[in-house]
Symmetry: C3
């Protein structure tokens, strides 16, 4: 028998997806996706939530995995749904701290029921075919020999400082130093992190130039106290990987380099 | 002898109104009135402050009573004054937490002295005759058989959620369930509260449609932790009654229904 | 040997100025200067930082002295540099609470290195000759016989209250009462402080009129809990003196009177 949640709303019988998760965890997850895209495909695989998305200009991409055990309850069988990320985040934002959110898919009506306490929000889904195809992971192999781990707060500080003087930023490694630099008309910014300032470093001399417009959005959802794993090359993309949902899942941003003007 | 409060300001001798109240209590009171009207009549009766006001479109009304014992000191004899609500609230907002506000009426000069610590603010009064006549309470008898008591935070959540999808909202009772519903172009919102979710319920099957523009303003001054008594009918107004000034007084909002489109 | 702070930034050898100070102290100092000017000359004297600046309309001036012992380390020999105050404040704002800021002058390249943790910000300096000449202190002797000391929070309250009704404000002393008054179209504001409300009072009957546009900016950086020494005359400037940098330095604002309309 369908489960009635209000006089006018009933959940489907045996729904294809029925998942319950801490509201804060889902909120963090959606903030990561919302940094790059307005709409995205959520793949509700048997093993958990899997998202691959690319921004409209194909300059940046995000990969996010939230395994089934990041949820309080999780039943799904591989359905892919298209959602308005900001809209879903607004609904989750109505939850109080400590609340859980239950997501129930109505495949037939192409609706996602989002249940928060007494609230049943019925979200109209977007045709996944209408959403930009993510990059093929096989194409995402780049030559990024330098690897390092740095605090989220330091990544934010790099972006905030560079933003004061320029619209782009150089990231590089020289010897045992990871550095970031931006040059403005009258002022310049440089940040240098030695081995002692980093949680880990596999050095290689590399340098690439990136757009701050993208980096500014990407660092926003990265928690200050988290550790961010970064991979860098020369005229190669940068990747930023960090834990999401209290460490139960992981997200990776990839940003393509800008051509250097010089 | 007139009481001098500064080299240029003296209070009238034997003022018709001389009332002292905790700044926070007066602030809460003015926030309730300011939700519906810019200017209103304050009736400073012997028994306390009494306000009846109606919004410019005659869609919503507010009744507020603050008995004399809600004040630290209170002397008045039935004077009615017209005030700019936001302006008076701005003056009270200059007080620090724990400050008291003293209101002294200068009948002759049509001024209200608002004294907060070292500050003497002289507020020019508005002719009460120039302010829209409130509804006659005798006309305010409606057929609202359903009564319930719900937390202020739940009323806010209903309005916030409905606001995401529509400009109006259905409130109703069916069986032992109080519900709120709003339908948007792609998304719908429903909230259901059973007897266990409510502090009280006198059920009756009813349903009415309301404008969110008004409800949004009305819920703003209702404290999250307060209990709100609601009366509902079918195509009838809704009333929301709640304590003000730390429970020393009471306010009631009344909102007329919208005609259903169906 | 020049000191390398990043792969591309090196500090000059034996710099003319090399000063380290708590970020919060420098932030407070710049907020005082930024209240009146966008650009100013910093005189880095042997005994400490000395600033004299006048606003573009020559209506208000600021004098600020931060002795060498307000710094954690201080080496300077009388250099005067021109800086963009807001820009320098933005850089200092990137520091975390408890961080120190190191300022190193590169005389040859006309740059100030601002070092905060891993960040090296290179600030292009402004030709001091291009910045408006401050008032000659010898011209700054006015006839201000009334002196008093009042809490920073009271000065803010005076300005906030007067701002509600007018664009200018009268400050005066009559007998043993310091008062502030502003008259609007319908409302008036008066504040009176007796000897008991003031930390000190050397009375003299005086009264002058001032622009709130300037006072609003000037009170912003004055801490609520600080004591402000005020000197007043009749149709004379007002001076406001208060401690900066945890009391290690002192600042004085001077504001010229407006001609009374009467």
């Amino acid at each position: 028998m369908p489960e009635a949640v209000s006089p006018t709303v009933s959940l489907p019988q045996d729904p294809a997806v029925d998942a319950t998760i801490d509201a804060g965890r889902l909120d963090d997850t959606l903030a990561v996706l919302g940094a790059l895209v307005d709409e995205c495909r959520l793949e509700l695989a048997d093993a958990g939530l899997r998202v691959r998305a690319v921004d409209p200009a194909s300059v940046a991409a995000v990969a996010l995995d939230l395994p089934a055990d990041a949820f309080e309850a999780y039943t799904a069988g591989g359905e892919t749904v298209g959602v308005d990320v900001d809209r879903l985040a607004d609904v989750v934002g109505l939850a109080d701290p400590g609340d859980t959110v239950r997501l129930v898919l109505d495949t037939e009506r192409r609706q996602l029921h989002v249940l928060v306490g007494e609230l049943a929000y019925t979200l109209g889904l977007i045709d996944p075919e209408a959403i930009r195809e993510p990059l093929d992971p096989a194409e995402m192999n780049y030559d990024c020999p330098a690897e390092l781990t740095i605090a989220g707060r330091d990544v934010s500080r790099i972006v905030d400082a560079a933003d004061m003087v320029s619209s782009h930023l150089t990231l590089g490694v020289e010897g045992e130093t990871f550095y970031a630099e931006a040059a403005g008309d009258t002022d310049d910014v440089a940040l240098a992190f030695g081995r002692d300032d980093l949680a880990a470093l596999s050095p290689a001399d590399v340098e690439s130039l990136f757009s701050l417009d993208y980096l500014r959005e990407m660092v926003r959802p990265i928690p200050a106290e988290s550790e961010v794993a970064m991979e860098l090359g020369t005229e190669q993309p940068v990747t930023l990987s960090f834990p999401v949902a209290d460490g139960a899942g992981e997200a990776t941003f990839l940003l393509s380099p800008r051509r250097s003007v010089a």
